[in-house]
Symmetry: C2
């Protein structure tokens, strides 16, 4: 059964665990016959919860883990001391090749630290970035790094660009994707010290198609395929994307309820509006994989829904099918 | 005539100069009888352009300046060498108290450098920030700094917070506005080195009502009144705000044109939608003043329209009426 993908799923992480995690897993198995799940967490609880659903028992196994890591805990200490936490146990499954991938909606810090300590970085990769797909008017762009590495250095950003370019090319099927550096102006001399030092590294890198700086204004219009920035900026971009979109849509909905005329119109435009909103909803786009590890680790946000968990699990298939990990390794041979 | 506000306007700066600048000035004078304009730029050109409009000639005077500074020029060298540029001449008018304020849609770099070299910083202020009003679902927030200071240090961010708080309180009439620090998590230990070092300074400052960290997601929902960040992050936020808003609205419009049903609905919701879009359009909110100078300097973006130029000029009245400069001075006595 070469083509089966086994994903270790953190059943205890996220705001709606374990309920949403289990439902997401059941849904993913229904959609994709070649995904199997290792559900990691408190055995008794998970057994009870799983009893509520109908699925092929051979395809989802419960892996006991007696501890949990909360988002308030210091990540390094938590990973060191809670060896039987769902995150640590699941990461060991990836390390020992019992699982092909790990998906978690739990503590970002613990997942990032644990992934590097337990699964380990690929040789040559110093700071694995989180790469998230974001919707644009032209399609989909990859934002890398979106929060794993704050205070990163220029050579790290160069790695983000190279890893991101390979990931985008293989996941989206776009040859030589356009790579741009987030900046506050398009001229080469603009920017902060980090951006000024990073620019020539990207410009002179033969592995990527660097198109220069990109201002944040152009990101939603699809100004580049791979958007490179350090983690603090990337996290601000990802969250503001969500915030402005959500705020504007709630304002538009409220505005449409302001008169009888627009209420009638709202009924007619509702299906089209819903479609647009869905297309511009970042949660449709799966989780953020950590790029450059010796295994696949995907982080999805704490408030993930059943659909998001399901998309995240399915997203892991792409990595296997497109042999993305092997492509990464070629970068550092 | 104590209550007349005289604004020096850079007639040569911006993508649509001098046309849009002159029309904005004429409009502002129509709306506000206590605004007079000193129109700075090429005398002959401006005389010809002004001849197209009807306005009280005593209220708008042309001040000759034979040079211009383009956005491609290195700001420091341009300000030093082009003594007769519209920006330098206008800033001298503010310095010599012939004008109460300077408004420009020209080179941001040249305005920032020139303002500090010619008008000068208030005693005690080291890095004057740009403060821009942004729309939220709850009203209006102030983003400070939005691009004047990249690589700023913690003590600079403290100044941004204090100046911003005074500005917001007086311009918006909100006592003790809520001040928050842009971060990638709400917990105190989250963030990059700059944010971690800035947090305790803001927390312990008695002059401001610090409510802690704010994630970018909450900014459009009005999570704080005064949003403090360094200039690179602030510029990314401001431009992404504009970008996501614009992209989403164009997608919604396109979506509504996709079927006959939604086309009919679009006709009915159009007025309400237009109102919402206008409320969420940052350009409605005037320009960004540089806070903490020995005079008022307001920067508006290069693609400013007639309406934006007009709003920018009217915005200068608030500074005079609310004696905001005097309030700033009290901070550093």
């Amino acid at each position: 059964m070469e083509d089966i993908l086994t994903v270790a799923l953190d059943a205890m992480g996220g705001d709606h665990a374990p309920d949403v995690m289990i439902r997401g897993a059941v849904k993913a198995m229904e959609k994709k016959p070649n995904i199997n799940i290792l559900l990691v967490g408190r055995e008794e609880l998970l057994r009870q919860e799983c009893a509520k659903y109908t699925y092929d028992k051979k395809r989802m196994e419960i892996i006991p883990a007696s501890q949990e890591i909360s988002c308030d805990e210091a990540p390094v200490a938590a990973i060191r001391h809670k060896k039987d936490s769902s995150i640590a146990v699941a990461l060991e499954l990836v390390k020992n090749k019992r699982a092909d991938a790990f998906v978690s909606a739990g503590s970002t810090g613990a997942v990032l630290v644990g992934a590097q300590l337990i699964v380990g970085r690929m040789r040559g990769v110093r700071r694995p970035p989180l790469g998230a797909f974001i919707p644009t008017t032209k399609g989909t762009s990859l934002l890398v790094d979106n929060g794993a590495n704050v205070d990163a250095r220029p050579e790290h950003l160069l790695q983000f660009a190279r890893l991101g370019s390979v990931y985008y090319e293989n996941a989206m099927g776009v040859k030589n994707p356009r790579v741009a550096l987030v900046n506050i102006g398009v001229e080469e001399e603009k920017g902060n010290a980090l951006v000024k030092a990073t620019y020539p590294l990207l410009r002179d890198c033969p592995d990527i198609r660097f198109i220069g700086s990109i201002e944040a204004r152009e990101i939603p219009h699809g100004g580049a395929d791979v958007i490179v920035c350090e983690g603090f900026t990337g996290n601000v971009i990802l969250k503001l994307y969500e915030g402005v979109g959500g705020a504007l849509i709630s304002e538009i909905k409220a505005g449409m309820m302001s008169s009888l005329r627009s209420k009638m119109g709202a009924l007619l435009v509702k299906p089209a509006l819903k479609e647009t909103v869905k297309r511009f909803d970042a949660s449709e786009y799966g989780g953020a994989p950590l790029l450059g590890l010796n295994g696949l680790v995907v982080k999805t946000h704490g408030s993930s829904t059943e659909k998001e968990v399901c998309n995240c699990l399915i997203q892991c298939l792409t990595f296997k099918e497109q042999k993305i990990h092997e492509q990464f390794e070629k970068l550092y041979q």
